[in-house]
């Protein structure tokens, strides 16, 4: 035991040196693979080297961090310094969607896509000011722990667990889906198999060492993902503009894009009404744009897998600093993503649009074969097919027009190195980065899910007398069960999964935010108020999501929903005649409807998209919590003292190792 703690001390004292060495080693490895590529080693093997080595490193960290201590398993022994917890949170936070999808979304949506950039960063202000330091002081193992202590018992805990399961499960499925896609593309693996291989990668990191192992693996994964994200775009910036600071030089790229956009219109290669890259509110109406930012921000501040990272710092003070570091590390990727989008858009605009459709570069067909690039309405599988598809369009002059070219948003980041003519080693690096992003987020989410089931449901509600050893066994078993269930769901290729990730934010916001914030900031909040508020906020959010997506006709027929509006013209997306036709067509009046249904996600209240469902759920949650609290007797003096303790940093945590309340018992 003495030996183990001395080891731990020396590990924590040498973090800087260990991770500097690791980063240096990673650069050396990239260089080595680059040399091997020049020597003629096949691309497939280079891909295997990148994936294999990084996963081995994560597994190694996972194995050496194994633990049988409850505190270490749930909150890494509360020994993670602010700076490193910031990095780990960065990796925890940035998912496959951020790494792979973000730049593509910005490519596609232009200015309106910045709602995601703003929404996924600004939420940390709410985390730091309103929530995280207080949860750290309380000393929770899980977010429902706090709800149970503040709102007197297991009813509030159960509400918290339900919201947590709803928002984390779809999210983790999307991560495994992302891992599967990357493994399929770069390792030539069968997709279903790839999902389960990804699962193994996730389990070795988290199962043996819980939070402790996940923390140190996530730090390593952050380094891989940020290096992988920056190198290609720094390279492109240096190549094009001579300065390796893409965040600065893409101003010039934006200018060139604007010039090309005008040229395309003059030459008849684009419609005059085609939205330009920097023009606002072409995809979202202003109200939808701002509500989306709002829901993503509030959702950020309510997602349990993020909040639980701040339980691991040594002090309340460091929890606050740690939020600042987290945002800095996240910022590095998010302020680069618009540059990535601009460079790849410029590349596509200057090398493809206006060119003869008969001689397109080979990379178009590499991705077209996977159905990820469509030209003239058909997957671009081969040169002859593209020519035929474009000829079939009336009035097509044989030159590629802007509207002819459609690229899947996920492909932008993965294909840009190839499009820009960078060596394959960079493509392999990007794949390793995407894998790191997906694995690290999946680790955090799985831990949040498994802990809610093992700590909150099993230990606190079913068997409070369970010995430590048994608790940890149950935790690990549940972790594997949840992981296998998630991998199985991912392997069925649920098509909506990416959209569902955005839902997680609204669900977390509507369900948890009012209870967490008022629990600290308004002493008068009562148990009944909180439970009613959680159920109402979560219920309304879920209702709006599910009805608009799966039963839109029911929404129109019974809940007063109407067609959403086109953000540019303000006309209804579904004309009154089309609506009438849809509602009288028996084939369309059956739910749950598929993505092809004419009404799906296009109807609603007040023209609010369902991605921003918390626009309804959150106000309802707050109001219900407020009103019901005032109608029920004020919390006891004992509970008021408890809140005072949570508010001031000095003193011990309020929850002991067994999860009982120190202050009130």
């Amino acid at each position: 035991m003495a030996n183990a703690s001395a080891d731990k001390g020396s590990f924590l004292n040498n973090l800087g040196r260990i991770y500097a060495l690791y980063t240096g080693g990673f650069f050396g490895f990239i260089f080595l693979v680059g040399i091997l590529e020049q020597l003629g080693v096949g691309q497939k093997y280079l891909g295997y080297m990148f994936m294999g080595l990084t996963i081995l490193v994560y597994a190694f960290i996972g194995v050496v961090s194994r633990t049988s201590d409850v505190g270490e398993y749930y909150v890494a022994g509360r020994t993670v310094p602010a700076f490193y917890n910031g990095m780990a949170t960065g990796a925890d936070w940035m998912s496959a969607a951020s790494f792979i999808g973000m730049a593509g979304t910005l490519f596609l949506l232009g200015y309106d896509g910045l709602a995601f950039v703003l929404g996924w960063t600004g939420g940390y202000v709410l985390v730091a000011v309103l929530i995280a330091p207080f949860l750290r002081k309380f000393g929770a193992y899980t977010v429902p722990d706090f709800l149970a202590a503040r709102y007197g018992g297991n009813a509030a805990r159960l509400c918290g667990v339900i919201v947590l399961l709803a928002c984390s499960f779809t999210y983790v499925v999307a991560q495994i889906f992302g891992t599967g896609l990357i493994a399929q593309r770069f390792l030539d693996m069968n997709f279903e198999l790839a999902c389960f291989v990804g699962l193994m990668g996730i389990l070795v990191c988290s199962m043996l060492g819980g939070m402790k192992a996940v923390t140190w693996t996530q730090v390593a994964q952050y380094i891989v993902l940020i290096v992988a994200y920056l190198i290609p775009v720094v390279w492109m910036s240096a190549k094009k503009f001579g300065i390796p600071v893409p965040q600065f030089t893409y101003g010039q790229a934006l200018q060139q894009i604007a010039t090309l956009e005008q040229e395309f219109v003059q030459k008849g290669l684009a419609a005059a009404s085609a939205p330009t890259h920097t023009a606002p509110f072409t995809r979202y109406s202003p109200a939808n744009y701002f509500w989306l930012i709002f829901c993503l921000m509030v959702g950020t501040a309510s997602l349990p897998h993020v909040l639980m990272r701040y339980f691991t710092t040594p002090s309340v003070r460091e929890a606050r600093q740690s939020v600042a570091w987290s945002l800095l590390f996240i910022f590095i990727l998010y302020f680069t993503a618009p540059a990535y989008a601009a460079f790849s858009k410029l590349e596509v605009y200057s090398t493809l649009i206006g060119k003869n459709v008969a001689d397109l570069p080979a990379w178009v067909f590499n991705w077209g074969k996977l159905g990820l690039i469509t030209i003239c309405g058909k997957s671009a599988t081969a040169a002859a097919d593209v020519v035929a598809a474009c000829k079939a369009l009336p009035g097509h002059a044989g030159l590629l027009r802007l509207q002819d070219f459609v690229i899947n948003t996920d492909v932008v980041v993965i294909s840009t190195p190839e499009i820009a003519g960078l060596p394959y080693v960079i493509t392999g690096l990007v794949a390793a980065g995407g894998l790191a992003a997906a694995l690290s987020t999946a680790d955090g989410l799985l831990l949040a899910l498994a802990n809610a089931l093992s700590h909150d449901i099993y230990y606190k509600m079913i068997n409070p007398n369970a010995p430590t050893k048994q608790r940890l066994v149950i935790s690990r078993v549940l972790l594997v069960v949840v992981a296998v269930l998630a991998a199985w769901t991912a392997s069925t290729r649920p098509t909506d999964i990416v959209a569902m990730v955005a839902w997680a934010f609204s669900l977390a916001a509507g369900g948890l935010f009012p209870a967490l914030v008022l629990g600290v900031w308004w002493k008068r909040t009562t148990k009944q108020g909180a439970i009613a508020g959680i159920l109402a906020g979560f219920g309304v959010t879920l209702f709006y999501l599910v009805i608009t997506r799966y039963w839109p006709h029911i929404g129109v027929q019974y809940f007063g929903m109407v067609s959403n509006l086109n953000p540019i013209t303000g006309a209804p997306l579904i004309s009154p005649e089309a609506m009438k036709a849809a509602l009288s067509n028996p084939a369309l009046l059956d739910g749950p409807v598929t993505a092809a249904h004419p009404l799906q996600s296009r109807v609603g209240w007040f023209n609010i998209n369902n991605i921003s469902s918390a626009a309804f759920g959150l106000p309802v949650g707050f109001v219900v919590m407020y009103v019901v609290s005032l109608m029920t007797p004020a919390p006891s003096a004992e509970l008021q003292r408890f809140i005072d303790e949570v508010r001031k940093p000095r003193g011990k945590t309020l929850m002991d190792e067994k999860g009982g309340l120190v202050a009130s018992h």
Binding site: Y111, T121, V125, R317, A324, F331, D644, R647
Partner: protein
Amino acid sequence: MTPDTEQHWARTRSLMILMMALWAFFSFFVHMFVVQLNAIKIAGFPLGFYMASQGSLIIFVAMLFWFAKAQDRIDRETGVAEDD
């Protein structure tokens, strides 16, 4: 030093309100003027686009480091800070 919890919470609350006002300003208010701001161009960036892609983000990061300091000062001055 005897802890002054009342003063601590009053000052904490004022800081919170200030932070929320700044947050609302840079999350929403500035971006309501994106069309007007886009008329101004700096190093190729239309200013409205720049604010949403970098400007507000830089301010969020700076705000949080400043907040950690400011809140710590309040904790220390009112005697409720943790031991170093």
